[in-house]
């Protein structure tokens, strides 16, 4: 039972298999979109919709691993579950290394499929949440003025207001004002919080003056 809006995208060029697994996923309560052609799936793919892809590894048009590459190239981080007719170790290693969630052997059992989907849903949700967070941080960081940003970099470097003022060639009072605004804009209540945020946003601390 995924979150609302969570969709399983099923790609298999065998219509009977496609129909049956679609049926199973739907009976399991998943919103399912099925594609008999990997190309059609690629062209109509919307990465913003939460969900996972269940892809047959062996397809005549475009096989599963290539579809995986194509998805990655298009910037999608949708988790992928592979279905395969045989337990081919080298292929599964390649698929997993490229970030596949699971590698299921046909005929696939309900529990294995559903648990893989659940796992994929969790991963998808987590990654989406992560992306959401970094997105809001970026937005807040974007509201800072140049000076405020400079002050931020010095603060997370653990410097005192006096030291910052000296570095930036201004008075301590001005730094205090900038610091107060910056903390308010970012919604930070402590330096520790600020350090964690800067770390997550990938902001490097300012280098101390010689």
């Amino acid at each position: 039972m995924g979150d609302a809006g969570f969709t399983t995208y099923l790609v298999d060029d065998d219509p009977a298999v496609l129909r049956s697994i679609t049926r199973l996923l739907k009976a399991g309560g998943y919103k399912t979109k099925s594609f008999s052609s990997p190309q059609k799936f690629l062209s109509s793919h919307d990465p913003s919709v939460p969900g996972c892809a269940i892809i047959d590894l062996v397809m005549s048009e475009l096989d599963g691993l290539r579809l995986q590459e194509a998805l990655a190239r298009s910037g999608s981080q949708r988790p992928i579950i592979f279905l395969t007719g045989r337990g081919d170790v080298p292929t599964s290693v390649r698929a997993m290394k490229a970030g596949a969630v699971d590698f299921l052997t046909k005929p696939v059992k309900r529990d294995a499929l559903f648990s893989a989907v659940v796992h994929a849903a969790e991963l998808d949700a987590a990654s989406r949440q992560k992306r959401q967070e970094s997105k809001s941080i970026d937005e807040r960081l974007a509201t800072l003025t140049h000076r405020e940003r400079e002050v931020l970099e010095h603060v997370i470097a653990g410097r005192l207001n006096k030291q910052i003022a000296a570095s930036l060639g201004t008075v301590e009072k001005t730094i205090k004002v900038h610091r107060g605004r910056m903390m308010a804009k970012l919604g930070m209540r402590s330096v520790a919080e600020l350090v964690r945020l800067a770390d997550r946003a990938g902001i490097a601390p300012a280098r101390s003056d010689p």
């Binding site: 065998d14 009977a16 298999v17 129909r19 049956s20 697994i21 049926r23 199973l24 739907k26 009976a27 399991g28 062996v58 397809m59 005549s60 096989d63 279905l83 007719g85 045989r86 046909k106 005929p107 696939v108 059992k109 309900r110």
Partner: protein, 687 residues
């Protein structure tokens, strides 16, 4: 046997001649001398009976001739020397002057030598009176040329004895007639006696009795005919002359040359006896003239009789030769397991050698008829074999079929080959053929077939082994669908879903997918099964499509594709679908292997079908792979030739024999640009 016996008799003659020159020479010389003397005495005896006229024939010449005939020329002088004292003794006894008897002896020797030389050279070997040709030669030489020539000298004997030179012609004629008569009457029977001694043959008692009866009747007829019976008017004389004729013919027909020469001898003796002993048929004038008339009569009568005997002999020999050669052929045929037969169209008569009984298991008591043989044909083969036989005979066309014959518990394979025999006008008059026992060949063929089937089966198994990954996937797909459908259905029911139409759809899909899996298994099983060769009508397009389905996953796995250009309204072919599918599979897999390491753009195999000119089917498998090894294209069909790392090298060899078995041909060659093409053609069904 006839070709052999003369050789033997000649050899035995010569062997005897060798003996003449060896320890027995003295004895033989004595025999010849005594016989010569006795012959002269007989001549004188006959002559004496008629007022000492010249003898009507001169037996000593025949004695000398016979002695020379069976002796090599280098020994002739011995017998001539032996004859001389006998001659002197005999002539001196009748008081012949020395000059006369020397000339007489010289001419006698001359005629004997001439005759013996000519007979040895021209008639070569006994039987001397076996053919018309030889008999004519004998008569021409010994009764005409040789005595006519020698009489040129012989005529002087009487002139030396006081005869007038003016009568030279008469003396010549008498000398000639006397020698010719001897050659015609005594010569043949003497020669035949000599022949018989070299080839002693005990005549059956019946033949001997018949010969005796004929001889007795002939003597009686001669006595009646040549006796000037007062009761018979002279006007009936010609009739009397004919009296011995039927008996002569009887003798000649029944006893051939022997009978003829014997009859001539009997008539001569009877007639001479009669002529010399008073009133005879030849009552012309002086006794000399009467005797001369009688001589001429006998000289004229003898050749036809001798020729008749020879003709009969020749015919009989030809018959015997034919019969013997027939027997020989039959024997040869039987010893090579062949029975011969002939069917005459005009009369409907059927002749066959006895070995046919053995072949068809007929007992000796059963009649050897065509129907009798046909009835023995195995029930399974009988309709076709009988029809082929009947049709060939009815239409007079060559026949070549094989069928089984049920002989008790034993089943034999018989082949029959026959051809029409043309008569003198070129139209077929008969059907001549041979039955042969081909059981051992058939068994060997069957064994080879079994082995071929075994190998073909092993190759199928091995091919499917190579394809196992792809084939498993072909099964996995429907199984996946079935499982997912079933689980979905169960889930729906567990959740209290009441949508019966959805449940119905699920069941429909499960059924369809089960059938799909079943088809895969069926295809696999037929390929894996080691069954008998089937003969079915096959749609090649269907067979190719089914083969491509079998390869579906494998092709995807290998990132290859196959395009299939199937000809519309392709004629059906006849054959074994499993074997043909094996061929297709093998050729496709070869193409796939050849395409494995080429750029993706070239990994396309094209299969196409087409109708051939003769109404058969052509299948072409075209790839753009690495092609055949250059200069070794012809080797690819050899068993154990392979270019693959793990190939057995039997695939194409099996494919070739399968296609051949279907009456078709398989070829494989490199394309002009890249890759290779395999093409096989199958003939249209026979019916």
């Amino acid at each position: 046997m006839d070709q052999i016996v003369p050789d033997m008799s000649m050899r035995s003659l010569q062997e005897r001649a060798e003996r003449f020159g060896g320890a027995n020479t003295v004895r033989n010389v004595l025999i010849v001398a005594i016989a010569y003397y006795l012959g002269a005495e007989i001549a004188f005896l006959i002559g004496t009976l008629s007022d000492r006229i010249f003898a009507p024939f001169w037996p000593p010449n025949i004695v000398l001739f016979c002695a020379l005939l069976i002796t090599p020329p280098r020994q002739w002088w011995i017998y001539i020397a032996a004859a001389l004292p006998a001659h002197i003794l005999a002539e001196l006894r009748v008081g012949m002057p020395v000059s006369q008897f020397i000339v007489a002896f010289a001419t006698n020797c001359l005629v004997a030598i001439a005759n013996a030389f000519a007979v040895q050279r021209l008639m070569v070997e006994p039987p001397w009176f076996g053919t018309i040709r030889k008999t004519i030669i004998y008569v021409l030489i010994t009764a005409f040329l040789s005595p006519a020539f020698c009489a040129l000298g012989g005529a002087f004997v009487q002139i030396l004895g006081g005869g007038s030179l003016e009568d030279y012609g008469l003396f010549w004629a008498r000398w000639y007639a006397s020698n010719a008569l001897g050659s015609l009457t005594l010569g043949p029977i003497a020669m035949i006696c000599i022949e018989s001694t070299t080839r002693p043959r005990l005549a059956p008692a019946g033949r001997a009795v018949e010969a005796a009866i004929v001889a007795a009747l002939l003597i009686a007829a001669c006595v009646v005919a040549f006796e000037d019976l007062p009761s018979i008017a002279t006007g009936y004389l010609p009739l009397l002359l004919y009296l011995p004729l039927p008996i002569i013919v009887w003798a000649a027909v029944r006893f051939g040359a022997k009978g003829a020469s014997g009859a001539v001898f009997v008539i001569s003796v009877a007639l001479i006896w009669r002529t010399l002993n008073g009133p005879s048929l030849f009552d012309i004038g002086s006794p000399e003239t009467n005797v001369f008339g009688m001589q001429l009569f006998l000289i004229g009568l003898s050749p036809p009789i001798l020729l008749l005997g020879a003709a009969i002999e020749e015919t009989r020999r030809a018959e015997r030769t034919t019969r013997e050669s027939e027997e020989r052929i039959s024997f040869a045929a039987a010893s090579s397991n062949v029975g011969l037969w002939q069917y005459e169209f005009a009369t409907g008569t059927f002749w066959a050698t006895d070995y046919c009984r053995t072949l068809f298991g007929l007992s000796p008591s059963e009649p050897l008829t065509l129907d009798g043989l046909v009835s023995r044909i195995h029930p399974n083969d009988s309709p076709t074999a009988s029809a082929a036989l009947a049709s060939a005979i009815a239409r007079a066309i060559p026949l070549d079929v094989e069928f089984r014959v049920q002989d008790g518990d034993e089943v034999r394979w018989i082949s029959v080959q026959a051809r029409p025999v043309a008569g003198d006008d070129g139209k077929p008059t008969a059907m001549s053929g041979a039955f042969g026992d081909v059981t051992s060949r058939k068994l060997a063929e069957a064994e080879a077939d079994v082995q071929q089937q075994e190998i073909a089966h092993l190759m199928r198994v091995s091919m499917l082994g190579e394809l196992s990954g792809g084939l498993a996937h072909e099964l996995t797909q429907p199984l996946t669908a079935i499982l997912s459908n079933a689980q979905a259905g169960k889930l729906l029911l567990a959740k209290g879903n009441k949508s019966l139409s959805e449940i119905g759809n699920i069941f429909d899909d499960i059924i369809a997918e089960d059938e799909r899996a079943g088809e895969v298994i069926h295809r696999l099983r037929s390929m894996l099964k080691k069954g008998d060769v089937k003969h079915e009508t096959i749609d090649m397009n269907d067979l190719i499509a089914s083969t491509l389905r079998l390869l579906h996953s494998e092709l995807i796995d290998r990132r290859m594709s196959v395009s299939f250009d199937n000809a519309a309204s392709l004629p059906a072919v006849h054959g074994d679908p499993v074997q043909l599918q094996q061929t297709l599979l093998n050729l496709l897999m070869n193409a796939m292997d050849a395409t494995e390491n080429v750029p993706p753009a070239r990994r396309t195999i094209s299969v196409s079908t087409a109708t051939t000119d003769d109404g058969g089917v052509q299948v072409k498998i075209y790839d753009r792979g690495t092609g055949l090894p250059p200069l070794r294209e012809h080797e690819v069909f050899q068993p154990f030739f392979t270019t693959k790392k793990r190939g057995l090298g039997l695939g194409l060899s099996i494919c070739t024999s399968i296609v051949k078995l279907h009456g078709g041909a398989l070829s494989l060659q490199n394309n002009v640009r890249e890759g290779a093409s395999a093409v096989f053609r199958l003939p249209p069904p026979l019916d």
